[in-house]
Symmetry: C2
Subunit: 395 residues, 2 copies
Amino acid sequence: MISEKMKDLVKNNSVIREMFEEGKKLAEKYGKENVYDFSLGNPSVPAPKKVNDSIKEILDNEDSLKVHGYMSNAGFEDVREKISKSINNRFGTNFSTENIIMTVGAASGINIILKSILNPNDEVITFAPYFMEYKNYVKNYDGKLVEISPNVKNFQPKLDEFESKITEKTKAVIINTPNNPTGVIYSEETIKKISKILEEKQKEYGHEIFIISDEPYRELVYEDVEVPYITKYYNNTFVVYSYSKTLSIPGERIGYVVVPNEMEDSKNIITAITIANRIIGCVNAPSLIQRALIECVDEKVDLSTYNENRNLLYNELKKYGFECIKPQGAFYLFLKSPVENDMEFCNKAKEYNILFVPGSSFACKGYVRIAYCVSTDMIKRALPAFKKLADYYGV
Amino acid sequence: MISEKMKDLVKNNSVIREMFEEGKKLAEKYGKENVYDFSLGNPSVPAPKKVNDSIKEILDNEDSLKVHGYMSNAGFEDVREKISKSINNRFGTNFSTENIIMTVGAASGINIILKSILNPNDEVITFAPYFMEYKNYVKNYDGKLVEISPNVKNFQPKLDEFESKITEKTKAVIINTPNNPTGVIYSEETIKKISKILEEKQKEYGHEIFIISDEPYRELVYEDVEVPYITKYYNNTFVVYSYSKTLSIPGERIGYVVVPNEMEDSKNIITAITIANRIIGCVNAPSLIQRALIECVDEKVDLSTYNENRNLLYNELKKYGFECIKPQGAFYLFLKSPVENDMEFCNKAKEYNILFVPGSSFACKGYVRIAYCVSTDMIKRALPAFKKLADYYGV
């Protein structure tokens, strides 16, 4: 009944569902306030006031047929123009309306790019640990995701292994910085090295290899670190952006893809991804929230809570004896499991009512991801449980 | 650079773009008010007041983190419950929350169903004339769309041909009633016959054959005709619904899929299409407009303008000598071309500043689709041009 491609996903889904059900059971048994759920990347800081204000203003002042109507599959032109100018102002780029294609979030953005460039058996490289959905996105178009093993010293990409794994079949590389699940930001030097390797490999194989830069966490940066804008270093770069985290509106499904003019065959690529946006069924990014961006394009959520959470959790967990590097961005902390089997560690944590996700779900065994996009109060309440967990393992 | 699957689409897109550019040129040359564009299915009647009122109320009263946040990939439970109850009230069905999966419009709904059930080379049958995107949707999952030739007498489906074209490979049948582009509604008798044929073929081949009922025009019905609710006639039916036309909000991308419990293996199918919703990149239907449905689930646009347009255009065009059947639903009129080559007819009409779409784009040569979701005033201004066109052809 179910397509071959989907069968395994349906089977494995029940495992995830079981975990979810278990979480609900814990909450019922011990009370919601005594269960510490760090498993989801759902923002805990509300959207800037301007988001709702802009929506209401649009509803009051703009024509309903325009606000809720079809537009070009690439999105409203005034919205795209506004976004291109904002990027240009901040990063010294030179984009205009046609370089921006509005999408149903970053997940759709990656999908329409992959649909436009992948032939069956093409390879897409990414660096572990990585957001597990990449594998599904690549499989959607019969491609193969090639993993570069994690560099657990500092979670910067392993460039030697990267270079050695690029083949005739390599069509694209997905990078994600600030990174989910580690919070690491790639330095300018790293980006330059990746670009240099790719330039050479493009020459060697005589075809383009794209960078797909997945940037939903671009604005979630806590230290004085610059997140390089990748198109400035490498021409064949797609930037995939989402407002989910920047504006705390993940449910609204709004983001965009940037295709620079410097990309080889950029005009046809823009046409292809615009058509892909239509035929995979999105048609266009949701219209009302698109229009709201005109006023909100330079807004971002208040980062102080995330930063407070980051410092509190990092400092306390280190004090208890856990090992982890301090995240510079995103809202995740990637903790070393005191035992090799990270699933076992997750299950043990559950006994103390702490829920987090095993690193194996990000192709990095021996670690767990703690999403600190929660209330600071919950973290404070969870700390004694973390302490007990540390004591149990004698770390 | 561009994937093999997308190459033809990119090439053909420029043809459509040329038509579009030509329309713009006409408007520049003769003034926008002297160009009569009947090519697009973009609603011309604004959303019911309650839509915007509900959105504003939600923004004022509900928690921002909930309104704009992630929810289950299948959608908010309270929204799905409300929809299931509304369907049950109106059609005597017996759905509950889990039978409803919220989607990014009907286009996404069809995509996630096809992704969940199609293996490469599986066949999906549909009746010409049909919405041309079906072909792309089926191709997305390496299936093959099999057309049943049009019955130009009354545009009801040709059931003999249908029965003869069902094979071992047939996985699904897409029906669309009220129909785009003809405005025809399938009678209960027709639905019963289709169901009977499929029941027998399921037995013959020993596997399920699904009906995918694409119903964006369900509420756009002008005469006292019932649009049968397909799950009541055939267990293995997916209903694909969209609020685009019902509420005049096509840009918002909001709809749902119904999977009845009576469907074979329904629980796994529900899981599969929910996962497909996630991994093709939609993740979930946009959250704010989902929540607005709670208050708007039984609203619909004022049909009086569409009905006035329908009567005016039908009566006048008949009077001028054109041939067409009177549409009972949707907002299209399917006119017989006075010459065999419908593209030639479209080009001639353009000389009179009238734009419509050739029937060949719906797999039905010799016809054109006139979208009358425009202002009545534009129709009145266009009538002399239609008269001249009739005179030119001496119909």
